[in-house]
């Protein structure tokens, strides 16, 4: 059954008061065309069949819902299950969206793709999809993130993508989005912009959520199959919010399921020290949509910080803003240090090296498990694997590789 909470956005891209389109006129027609083409594709059984086949045989879906026995024992409370998005081809959830959008790109007859990336996971997933379908791929990436994520940069180049360093502003994800938007302003007739998160103007927040909802749909079915009932609690990390939107959306109408989004608490709650948009932000406009944003009183976007390049973003998807205000999803923050500890605990107890983004969800799951009883079930989105982060983690722990 769909309720007013799950039956969003409306035709103008509104999630309650959030979302919409705040972009230059030059992009408006392309967004209208994209919305129409996406609606057609959604109704087209051959599009869905092709997507399903690729998700199964190329991405490796469905991936497991894994019961983390030792971590559960360590916490001494609720049972922790991980949705293994880290086992997808490319090692993260981002590919669920890029495959879908690459298929749309071809439906629209476009041959060139641009993408922005923070941690590089979306850049890699875009490069993969473009290599697979023979599309030209340009990835905008902040200079600071290029430094932090050398492995992903190398991988993107291997697959034929051009990585363009962004040197404006904070040189991170936010500026990469700005540069990709600028490219799109002049290339929109021949180019599709594969936005990697549930952000940006309508239809992106809806479309990316839909492509990522495979995470929540599988998790829901797998949990029912393995435990005989729905989970009590579902946890995912939130930067822009794509893995969490995909995880939460299929559970929105299941009122008994508690949903928690975990933001980057960085070094603490002072402005500039974190990227906890929903915890500390206010309503505003960023990157073409209306939602919570970390801005000063003049509407200037503030600098943010996170140990994780993928969560280092001063905005958040409009649907998360809607879920926050409706009270359906609870949002909290995990600090850099807590995430680092979660990363190490996961590696030692479960033999899984998680992405530093996902480590935020893990750190919160450990707290939540300790506060719950043994018959409670906690499902955590393990959104990616941590190979890309080992250099940065080693540096922070003062070790050599």
């Amino acid at each position: 059954m769909s309720t007013s909470l799950s039956n969003v956005p409306d035709a103008s891209g509104r999630f309650g008061e959030f979302g919409r389109r705040f972009v230059p006129e030059t992009l408006m027609h392309a967004l209208e065309e994209l919305t129409q083409e996406y609606e057609k594709a959604k109704q087209d059984p051959s599009f869905q069949a092709e997507l399903d086949d690729l998700l199964k045989n190329y991405v490796g879906r469905p991936n497991p819902l894994y019961f983390a026995e030792r971590l559960t024992e360590f916490c001494g409370g609720g049972k922790i299950f991980f949705k293994r998005e880290d086992l997808n081809h490319t090692g993260a959830h981002k590919i669920n969206n890029t495959i879908g959008q690459a298929l749309l790109t071809m439906r629209m007859g476009k041959k060139r793709v641009i993408a922005e990336t923070g941690a590089g996971q979306h850049g890699v997933a875009s490069a993969v999809a473009c290599a697979r379908f023979g599309l030209e791929c340009i990835v905008y990436m902040g200079e600071e993130d290029i430094r932090r994520q050398k492995l992903n940069v190398f991988n993107m180049k291997m697959m034929g993508a051009e990585v363009r360093a962004v040197t404006s502003g904070s040189r991170t994800l936010r500026d990469a989005v700005n540069e990709a938007m600028r490219d799109w302003m002049s290339s929109v007739e021949t180019t599709h912009y594969i936005i990697g998160s549930v952000i940006g103007p309508h239809p992106f927040p809806m479309m990316v959520r839909d492509f990522q909802s495979v995470i929540g749909k599988e998790s829901r079915a797998q949990c029912l199959e393995q435990t005989g009932r729905l989970p009590d609690h579902v946890i995912a990390c939130v930067g822009g919010g794509s893995n969490s939107a995909g995880m939460f959306y299929p559970f929105i109408d299941d009122e008994s399921v508690k949903l928690t989004g975990v933001e980057a608490g960085g070094r603490g709650p002072e402005p500039g020290e974190h990227a906890s948009t929903l915890s500390y932000g206010a309503k505003g406009v960023l990157h073409g949509s209306f939602g919570y944003v970390l801005q000063d009183d003049d509407g200037q976007t503030m600098d943010v910080h996170s140990i994780s390049a993928g969560l280092d973003y001063p905005g958040v998807g409009p649907e998360h803003s809607y879920w926050k205000d409706s009270g359906r999803v609870n949002y909290t923050a995990i600090t850099d240090d807590e995430a680092l500890e979660g990363f190490q605990t996961m590696a030692k107890l479960e033999g899984i090296i998680p992405a530093i983004e996902s480590s935020h969800a893990i750190a919160h799951a450990i707290k939540a498990a300790r506060e719950s009883g043994p018959d409670e079930t906690i499902v955590v989105c393990l959104s990616g694997r941590g190979d890309k982060d080992v250099n940065e983690v080693a540096r922070l722990l003062g070790r050599e590789i």
Binding site: E189, Q295, D297, G299
Partner: protein
């Protein structure tokens, strides 16, 4: 409704020429310079001035204006300070300012508070606003608020805007229509696209509002190609790039302002052909 913008375009038309509207960034490098440059532009006989509000994430702008916004923000630009400064300038009877048009992101307006922003803008002497990230579809409520403050809401039309959209957009617009010459961001370009003429002709059939062309214009030859087709033109990056010199210790402030004035004077003369 007669506004200072529509009066200005009517006057320019009666003189059988185009309106020249230079763009400057407020607060680059500081508000004192903004005031001095405005006075210089007024003395050079420019018809209107577009005043850009520095914004941290200007997705419609190329590198020159981005860099200018960054300089102003690094120098602690605040919206309220600009309004106060312009209020004082507008009250100065020794200066005859041309109509001022604010180029300002909706991110700033929303956060500042739309009503407060519009009231302060009107009080500071602005005649209208251009809000580049508020397309016609999202603008209807805001357009009413703008009107009630006796300001014009200038709307943008891009070469990629289909006719149906254009019809809706011109309905909520007032003052003039900002015709974007090319699909892309702001910045100097060698030539204006050949399709521009046809685009202006089709726009002319849809609205009686003056048509002003912006993006990519920098020299008298560009102006000549627009003659008889547009009612005005905007020059941004070609002027704003000169502001970088203010941070060069080897250059004198008066010399830079004089150079900006000289360029503006040439372009103002070019409107007369």
């Amino acid at each position: 409704m007669t506004t200072s913008i529509s009066e200005k375009f009517a006057q320019v038309k009666s003189e059988n020429r185009m309106a020249f509207m230079p763009f400057i960034t407020a607060g680059d490098p500081d508000l004192e310079t903004t005031v001095d440059v405005l006075k210089e532009l007024a003395a050079q006989g420019v018809d209107l001035v577009e005043v850009g509000f520095p914004y941290s994430d200007p997705i419609a702008d190329g590198p020159v204006i981005q860099a200018s916004y960054t300089r102003a923000l690094n120098n602690k630009f605040h919206v309220h300070d600009l309004f106060e400064t312009l209020k004082t300038l507008s009250a100065d009877e020794t200066v005859s300012l041309p109509p001022l048009v604010a180029m300002v992101s909706y991110a700033i307006i929303f956060r500042y508070g739309a009503e407060k922003f519009l009231q302060e803008a009107a009080g500071a002497g602005f005649s209208g606003l251009i809000v580049p990230d508020l397309p016609g579809d999202e603008a209807s409520d805001f357009a009413e608020q703008v009107k009630s403050c006796n300001l014009d809401l200038v709307q943008l039309v891009s070469p990629l805007t289909p006719e149906g959209r254009t019809r809706r957009i011109v309905q909520t617009a007032s003052g003039f229509i900002y015709c974007i010459s090319v699909a892309g961001t702001t910045g100097v370009r060698d030539e204006l696209p050949p399709e521009l003429t046809a685009h202006l002709e089709s726009l002319r059939e849809l609205t009686d509002l003056p048509l002003a062309v912006g993006f990519g214009i920098s020299n008298p030859e560009h102006v000549n190609t627009l003659r008889g087709k547009a009612d005005g033109f905007i020059i941004g990056s070609a002027i704003v790039k000169q502001f970088a010199a203010f941070s060069d210790e080897n250059q004198k402030r008066e010399d830079i302002i004089a150079r900006i004035g000289e360029y503006a004077g040439q372009m103002a003369a070019a409107t007369r052909g």
